[in-house]
Subunit: 338 residues, 2 copies
Amino acid sequence: MPTIAVDAAGGDHAPEAVVRGVAQASLETGIQCLLVGEEDRIQAILDRATYNPELISIVHTREKIGMDEDPRLAFRAKRDPSILVAAQLVADGKADALVSAGNTGACVLACARTFHVIPGIRRTALASVYPRQVRHPGQDPLAIVLDVGATIRCEPIELVQFALMGSAYARRISKIAAPRVGLLNMGREETKGGEVLVEAHRRLRSIEGLNFVGNIEGNDLATGEADVIVCEGLVGNAILKMVEGLADVFRNVTEAGARGSLRWRLGLALLGAPLRRLRQLTDYTRYGGAPILGFDRVFIKCHGRSGESAIRNAVKVAAKAVRDEVPREIAQAVAEMA
Amino acid sequence: MPTIAVDAAGGDHAPEAVVRGVAQASLETGIQCLLVGEEDRIQAILDRATYNPELISIVHTREKIGMDEDPRLAFRAKRDPSILVAAQLVADGKADALVSAGNTGACVLACARTFHVIPGIRRTALASVYPRQVRHPGQDPLAIVLDVGATIRCEPIELVQFALMGSAYARRISKIAAPRVGLLNMGREETKGGEVLVEAHRRLRSIEGLNFVGNIEGNDLATGEADVIVCEGLVGNAILKMVEGLADVFRNVTEAGARGSLRWRLGLALLGAPLRRLRQLTDYTRYGGAPILGFDRVFIKCHGRSGESAIRNAVKVAAKAVRDEVPREIAQAVAEMA
């Protein structure tokens, strides 16, 4: 069973939600977790929870990087912030993967300082999952999109590598034999999107073993045309956050409705099960996070607002990525293309 | 009253929906319309509709550019496609504004061939409206985003001009005294988004008379943080189409629900009025279109799937933009900045 280093101090609801999520995981799985943060606070939360003490250890550090801190300045000012200590545990082989719901920029920097980029990879990418319409039973309701913020603009070769990395991840984690990979563009025609996207399209089409379905457009995201969406960070970040914003509006509306007139409350109650399902699907605070791809180690980044179930899921996803050797799968795909 | 040239052959439901929309407008307003397309087909549709014959004339042309045609190739092969004839009527002063639901690329090309770009404007921009949460009574439920596809990547000065143009349009059409303008970015900090966005942010902040609210992120779109959203075409196109895709999924789900179990049908019926309102708001086939900004003439582009009410609304919006002298407002804003 893999050992996961968990940044107990990262996230809007840290350390409470993180520690409780790890406690839950310890009851459901055999995964070892190293909780990195303030020992006394972590222990106090564990004391109020049910957990398997054989599977949880605490690695103490008092420093942490806040959600709104500038990552570069914070790294200069702090010697042992929790995210860096946790990443170092992984780099030193004391843990097999890293999980954090903390400051995204700090997470990326911590990985860059302690992990190695897989040989041949030009740039690492931050992936994110998003819900989409399911077309056949058993289909994963989540697709992944990358990059969503580690880059701004990209070269064609970088987008091609995002496709290879995303495809390898989906193959292993979502158990899709040949994940459909789409290039997010402003039209389906191969001539669309300017030099970079035209060249990326041309190269993607020529890669054997990659199930490239061509350009896809924004409206294809929700309808599930592809399992892996490739785009530059500036575009991916905007669409990802827009989905989050719409989910928030949806939740606000239904919650306001549930407090509203009797007629509204009754209507919502009758729609109970499907509505609950839709709310769950659009509740990104429950998702188990998404990877930063391109490093030799596994890192699962959870949403800043993650609650305990998201953390529990992220620990499971991280363990799965370790067992399924995602970094090795990516290294192989990149080596084959070269 | 202004005269509007309407491309009767453009759009998924042309000429039927276009002609019927114009017929409706003729009963509700004093706006003159020139319907450009196949005379016999247009007349046959008018004969089956109720309309005011004093307000509608037909300008005959048999050629048209299909929704899936390559605009450049089509313009080379065709002498008098409806969109070009309609644009020429405006350029010649026989009409004051152009409305089309046709092939977007062909619309942009037709304008570029017949209209003049306002002096000082670097690039024209395609705007689009999108629904957002309304925070106070009387607030326009639609915000505008530009560019959504006339450009791919932009220089800082181009983004600044989009801000000025969008602000001028919202000031006149939505009657907002000082429209809040946001720069779509991957973080709120002014250091985010790379050279182009950092420089655009710096310049936008320094423009007197522009209500620049700073960087906004994808999640701020739905919550209505800004009235005018500025971005590069590649980003704007992706988010716009994603909203459309989500609206489609939402409609499919509620329609399937309405055919489903008694419990579902009853629940949906009880939620009737607010649900209908939400469906209307996300039904972009009803919107009255959005402008291409930066030309000396008014052009309102309707969604390809526009139905007759969208066309009717677009005719009204076009007439309003003419009466309120939107191009002159834009020219003034750009001249003041220079």
